[in-house]
Structures are given as structure tokens and as C-alpha cells.
Symmetry: C2
Subunit: 480 residues, 2 copies
């Protein structure tokens, strides 16, 4: 039986997503501010958990945080030719301040390569200053005509790493450290979301990059979501902003820069990858609340016995489990079960008078909402039981998502096959086509190359468009 | 002997401040973005430590975080009469996006009462929805003509709490919880900075508030710095944005709202309260690095013996002390000592060949840069010694700042006395004057009422301006 307020995925996946966002109380539309949303407390708490997981990894790999200005002189955008082409059409402009027109307008940062490039040119002098490894947590703005909560909003929150290196090899290594050690590690371990790592084609790369890398994940409708990107910017921005250093032989050289980012659209990925028709599912490691305890009682005598048991059971949880005791009055247990299912809490504990007598509790797993996910467990040793269960749920969500991806990844050996299969998921094809070919395919079948995966087959094959023999496969998919 | 690059406080306090900011590498001027700065890694790390201390307290008092849009429709500012008067003159306006002129311009939030008020009106329906206790970490912008790093910048970072309550009493209680349990507790315990708590006069209150409260701290030049503010907004914003709820008797009422904020200007307060002519001093609880270990050696034999000792000494520090081992080559110990003094690291440990032999180390306290702050301490039990020393330094900084305030707080019984004493610090006076009197005094002697302190004398006295008998004292000072 479908849950009230949630359109089943099979009926309308797109509406299902919006229903989850609303029913789990994650965001509100900011209809008075074009294309923006409010990150409501339940949604923002997920972002805070993501920030912790990412910030730890960013620092563990040697980076430090800083903060650069929100506003960028409009002329800065123009300094890198591809960059301006990519971003100028979607910027918001500040033209007045204190009631007066400004001599030169500013844009609100759509990304910060240019303004940070300006400062790095001031700060970098010698090879001793390199590598320069800085990250920023910030809001950015890209004027968006078709907003969708978390996935596409005019203002969004993200982190952007910006680094400078002495050599191309160092910059390339850094680009891959961000992709692998920061992003893939976080997305797979904390979000329980398997990713395909690879390089972007020329058409899909970042405006101004030498090479872009990305992590692609599959959503439950078979569409791709780019979870993170990392760019080797070569010397493009170093030349545009004159970031130079004196090397060990006293020669002045341009630096090599990188940038990499991950944003609040990951919240959308988390929702779409794991949730079901009962509501949101949050992986335990990111869940702001991992366990909810619902006491069940019909009268005051039962209530005091049950609440005493609940207090006793949870007495050693603090600092070990993130939990909540839902002792709200005037609400039925059924109402509460429904609410916490909608909100995606990984584990629910029910404690009633019979449980008190038996010294047990009922434990319900959110990832298995039916009877198979429910068990009666002794109160003794419950904390360890739950800790293990959370690990099991985390793993189950990952395994399930991986299985889904495997079942929805296909190989196509012709354009017609690609056309048909792209309706269902990821499609691997041999590819020696051009940017022009990619553009045409995008127009015709609304699919784009997601990545050139790092993992490639050993045999070569025939490009589906050019008929050329090639060793390179790419993945096509429809994307968010 | 004055330190190179730092103007002594006695010579030019204002230049001393700028020198500290530069020498400790805390910020850079963003000359290309009017009135803005870059928060460099050393400065931003202090802000991150502050955020942790504040966020913990914000959550412990029952608040949750959320995120609201950066842009506010310009018309929203106009809805509260005092508010628009206070903020309209200093906002930056977004008039164009995607290359087109907008039908209605947006302002970049100077503070978020209006945009948040709009959403709260949608979210609050019944007394069951109250209190609504939300905080936001965000950047804000107030066009600033005379910027000064951290203290006054066009863009700054802050948190702003925004709450709705069913009664005036609840709103008043919340306003004081923010002031006392969040802000005063943080500023005194973590920043080691004693504060005077009190209410703002009508002239000094927040634009749109019923009552504003503040924490005032004294800087080493005798000027006041407002460390935090908390506002009981009464029903002003609830009426302007129609935030209503149905109470338990089914009557529709306007809510009572509060707002409270603390910003990156606290970094300026931290610098000015504690630092000396040798450089920055960071209180141990907020210091990103609490201990730096400097190995001293003249040849490879000495180096390997010293480094082995350093490794052994620090082997049980991880997770207990935030420390750094400065094993940079080609730099003398003296250069390193100087650098870490400039950067305000609370404790420096020196380990040389003689220390290895004796099983001791030299320990230098940053808060006592001379010989009196240096001691030879056995390696055995060093971690506990340092832990205790950090507590002692934290307390010493607080005590010193409190003593300074006591020595620079005066009572004046006439306007002439006030005039003379305000050159030196805080001046308490009996006060029954008007807003007009405050304005005149501000023009004449450049001092403002800082707060009406919660702690008032038992006896009444004579107002220095009106000659009226009054029970109320206020504090006048020149302020940052």
C-alpha cells in the first residue's frame, strides 16, 4: 500500500523525489528568490554530517581552509577565454551599493578560480611556497532557470579546493588525490554510494580545465548523477592571472593549478540512491539521528514502567550512538513509526510493557521496512547489537546500490543499441567520436558521455559512431 | 627591543593591530573587492575553532542549524520601518542576472530577519510549532567605507540565531539564553575575554528591536568592542511578516521573535585583547596549534639523537594536544622561535642535544615571552605538564584581561570628568539622559553608551547631564 503523501517511484520518479524532500522536511522552495531553496534543519543536518566527513579528509590530505570574497570583479571572469564562455551566461551581477552605481560591476562567485587566482599570484613567489593547498567552504550562485531542490538551485553550498604546484605531474597527482582519497572515499564509505571514476571528455570538461575527472553514480531511475569533479587546470589560470614562481634554478615559471568541488547536490544523490516508497533512507554514518526509541504504553502504570526501562536501556548510549527518545504525548506509536520512516532514521527501537517483562525490545531496520527487518532483541548488550546493526545497514545500502548499478549497466555495440539501452541506465560503448558527435547524440537521445572510466577493457573494439577500432570505452547516460 | 615588522602598541596601537594581522599571516586585503578581505588559513583556523565552540553551545541550548537564501527581495527590507532605515544605506544590490535586468532587484543579506521572517510566517501555524529555534552560519554584506581587517569588512562571516515564541516572556528568556549561555560562556571561557553584560540604550539598539542586549569587552587601548548582541524583537517582525499562530484557546496571535549574532570581528577582539609587541597571542582553547616542538642540532649525529627524542616525547600526544614539529631545514632555531611567537602558539618546546642527555626539554610560554616564562622540564610526564600549562595560560590571559579592565574602568560624576576619563577606558556614569543627549555626546567626545550593565549599584546618584536622581548607570566608551 503506497504511503500517504509519497508518489511511488514506479509511478512517477520525479514526483517521488519531490515528495520525499517535502515529507522528510528537508527543504522549502524560496519562491520569492528565483531558483533558490531553504535548507531546512533536517536537510541541513545531513549537509553538516557530509561537511564533517569531507573536511576530515581534506585536512588529512594536507589542505587548510581559508575564505575568499563572495564578489568577483566582472572583468576577472573574462581573463580565461573558456571560463568566461562557460560561466558568463549564468552569473548574477551586483551593480549598485549604498544606493550608488558601481564603477565596475561585480558578479557573485559562480566558482572561485578567478578571484583565488588573483590572490595566488600575490602569494606565490618561490618554489618554497609550493604546493599551496587551500580549500574553501562557501555559497556560490549560478542563475538557474529550472530549479530542483538540492540538485539544481541558483544558490548552493559547496567546498572548492584550489591548489598550485611546481610541475604538471604534481598538479595531476593532486587532482587524483582529491578524486580518490577525498571524494570517492567519502562517497563510497559515508554515503554508501558506489561510484565510477573517470575522466571527462573534452565536451564535458570544466570551462578552463586541461583535464576534468569525475565520480558518477547511478540513481534508481537509471540516470547518472555527477557526485564530484576534480580539475587539472594546467597553466591556463596561472597564465591568465600570472601565478609565477622562481624555481630552484632561479628561473621564473608559471605554476600549475587544480580545483575540485563537491556540493549540496550530494544531498539529492543521497535521497535518490537509497530512499524507497516509504520515505527517506539515510546511511547510518551520515544520519544526524541513527536510532529513535519509541515507548509504547496505554496507561500511567505502563508508562512509568516503560520509561524507566527506556532510561535504563539508553543510559550508556551517549557518545556512542546518535539517538532520540520520542516520548511525545498525544501521538500514537503508529503515527511516530510513520514519521521516523519518512525521515529515514536507520533504526527504530520499540519498548512496550511486554518488552519490559521479557527484558527485550523490538528493533526495526529502516532499510528493510517489512517484517523481515524487524526482530526482538534482548536488552542486555543492546548497544553493541545496534552498533553492529548500523554497520550492517551501511553495508547493505552500499551492496544494494552496487547491485542496482550492475543490473543497470549495459554494453552497446551500435548507436541503435545505445539509444534503446540508455532508457534503462548506464551504457558502455567503444568511442572514438568527436565533440560534435557527442553534441548530436545529446540532441537526439538526451544522453551525454559521463566519463571515460579509469577501468577499461583489455580488448579494443569498434567505435559505435565512427566505426574506428579503439581501446577506449566511455559511459553514456542521461544525467541529473 | 621592538620586534621587526611590529610597531609597538605604545607608539601606534592602530598600526600595531595591522602589523599583527600581517605578520601572523591572518588576512590579506582584497583591494579588488571593495572593503573585503581574504581570511587566510591562519586567520580562518581561528574562526573554525570559534565556530566549534559556539556551535556546540548553540546546539546544547536546543537550537538546530538551517540555511536561508543569500539574496533578499529589496521590498522585504522596507516592511519594518526602523529596519529599513538602519540597513538600506549599506546594502549591495543585484540588479542583473544571466545578462538581463531583473524585474525587482535583490539585496545581498546584511542580516536575515526579513527573509527568515517570510519563511517563518509559512512554517508557524500552531502553538505546537513553537518555540522555533533555528540558527544559520552565513556570510553577510554591509557596504563599508572604512574597512579594517576582521573589525569592519564589507563581507563578513557570522552566525545568526532566529527564533519564534508564543509569549513575550519566552522571547525575553531566549534573548538572555543566547547572551549568557551561548555568548558570554564562549567569550569568557574560550576566548579568555571578560565581558560586561547589559542592555543597549534606545539609540544603540538594533534597527527593529524592542530591546537589544550586548557583551562589551575592553581592548588594550581602552576602547570597547561589542563581542555579541542578542535582540528581543517583540512583535515587530512578526507583524511586518505576519508570523501568526493559533494558541491553545484557538485564538490567532502574532509570534514574538528574537535574533542574535556573533561574527568574525571576534577574531579582531581576540587579537586586540591578548597580543603583545612580540606578535599574536592565541588562548590555548582556541589555538589551532597549541604546542610547537623545535628540534635543535648542529650536525647529523645530533640531529638523529634529537629527532629520536622528539619522536619519543610526542608519541602519546595525538588526540590530547594539537601540536606541530617544526623540522624545517635551512632555518635557524632563532628564526623559528620568532615565527611561532609572531603566530601566537601558546607553548614552544625546544629539544637540543643537552636536553636529550638530561632527559629534559625547555618549555617557553607565549604569554610570558621573557625569561620568566621559560623552564626546563623533565621529559617524563611532559604531556600532563603541558596540558596543565595550557590551562594555566588560558587562566592567566583571562586574569590579565580582567585586571586590565578593572584598571581601566572609571566612575565619572560630571560630564567634564567623563570627557577626560573616556580617553583612558570604560566610564560608568549615572544616566537619565535622552537619545538626543547621547547623540550630542557622541559628536562632542566620540564616545557612546556601550551598555546599561545588568550589575547596577545599590545607591542612586545624579545623572551627569540632566542632574536628575537616577538608579541607572551606563558605561560610556569609545568603541570599535
Amino acid at each position: 500500500m503506497p504511503k500517504e503523501g509519497i508518489t511511488p517511484r514506479a509511478q512517477d520518479y520525479s514526483q517521488w523525489y519531490l515528495d520525499i524532500v517535502q515529507q522528510a522536511d528537508l527543504a522549502d522552495y524560496a519562491e520569492v528568490v528565483r531558483g533558490c531553496i531553504v535548507f531546512k534543519p533536517n536537510g541541513y543536518a545531513i549537509w553538516e554530517a557530509m561537511q564533517r566527513g569531507l573536511d576530515d579528509r581534506i585536512k588529512a590530505t594536507g589542505h587548510v581552509n581559508a575564505y575568499f570574497p563572495l564578489l568577483i570583479p566582472k572583468s576577472f571572469l573574462m581573463k580565461e577565454a573558456e571560463h568566461v564562455e562557460g560561466f558568463a551566461p549564468e552569473v548574477a551581477e551586483v551593480t549598485h551599493a549604498s544606493g550608488e552605481e558601481l564603477a565596475e560591476p561585480y558578479v557573485i562567485r559562480p566558482t572561485s578560480e578567478t578571484i583565488i587566482g588573483y590572490f595566488y599570484a600575490k602569494w606565490v613567489r618561490s618554489w618554497r611556497d609550493l604546493p599551496l593547498l587551500i580549500n574553501q567552504w562557501a555559497n556560490v550562485m549560478r542563475w538557474e532557470m529550472r530549479p530542483r531542490p538540492f540538485l539544481r538551485t541558483a544558490e548552493f553550498l559547496w567546498q572548492e579546493g584550489h591548489t598550485v604546484h611546481a610541475t604538471e605531474e604534481d598538479a595531476e597527482r593532486e587532482t587524483l588525490v582529491a578524486l580518490n582519497e577525498i571524494y570517492a572515499d567519502f562517497v563510497e564509505k559515508e554515503m554508501a554510494l558506489p561510484v565510477i571514476k573517470g575522466r571527462k571528455t573534452e565536451k564535458e570538461k570544466f570551462a578552463g580545465a586541461l583535464r576534468s575527472y569525475a565520480l558518477e553514480a547511478i540513481m534508481q531511475d537509471g540516470r547518472a548523477l555527477q557526485a564530484a569533479t576534480s580539475h587539472n587546470l594546467g597553466q591556463n589560470f596561472a597564465k591568465a592571472f600570472d601565478i609565477t614562481f622562481t624555481d630552484q634554478t632561479n628561473t621564473v615559471q608559471h605554476g600549475w593549478t587544480t580545483s575540485w568541488g563537491i556540493s549540496t547536490r550530494l544531498i539529492g544523490a543521497l535521497i535518490m540512491a537509497h530512499s524507497d516508497d516509504e520515505g527517506l533512507i539515510i546511511p547510518p554514518r551520515l544520519a544526524p539521528t541513527q536510532v529513535v526509541v519509541v515507548p509504547i504504553h496505554k496507561n500511567e502504570t505502563e508508562r512509568s514502567a516503560v520509561m524507566a526501562a527506556v532510561e535504563q536501556i539508553t543510559s550508556d548510549w551517549k557518545g556512542h550512538l546518535r539517538f532520540k527518545i520520542d516520548d511525545r504525548e498525544q501521538l500514537t506509536p503508529g503515527f511516530k513509526f510513520n514519521e521516523w520512516e519518512l525521515k529515514g532514521i536507520p533504526v527504530r527501537i520499540e519498548v512496550g510493557p511486554k518488552d519490559v517483562q521479557k527484558g527485550s525490545v523490538a528493533v526495526a531496520r529502516r532499510d528493510m521496512p517489512g517484517r523481515e527487518g524487524k526482530a526482538f532483541v534482548p536488552q542486555a548488550g543492546l548497544r553493541d547489537h545496534i552498533t553492529n546493526l548500523l554497520t550492517e545497514i551501511q553495508q547493505n545500502l552500499y551492496d544494494r546500490a552496487l547491485r542496482f548499478r550492475e543490473e543497470h549497466t549495459f554494453e552497446a555495440s551500435s548507436y541503435d543499441e545505445l539509444k534503446a539501452l540508455v532508457e534503462k541506465g548506464f551504457v558502455r560503448v567503444y568511442w572514438a567520436g568527436s565533440t560534435e558527435d557527442e553534441r548530436r547524440i545529446q540532441t537526439e537521445i538526451k544522453a551525454t558521455t559521463r566519463v571515460i572510466p579509469f577501468e577499461q577493457p583489455e580488448q579494443s573494439g569498434t567505435c559505435i559512431i565512427t566505426g574506428k577500432e579503439t581501446k577506449q570505452q566511455v559511459i553514456f547516460a542521461r544525467a541529473y
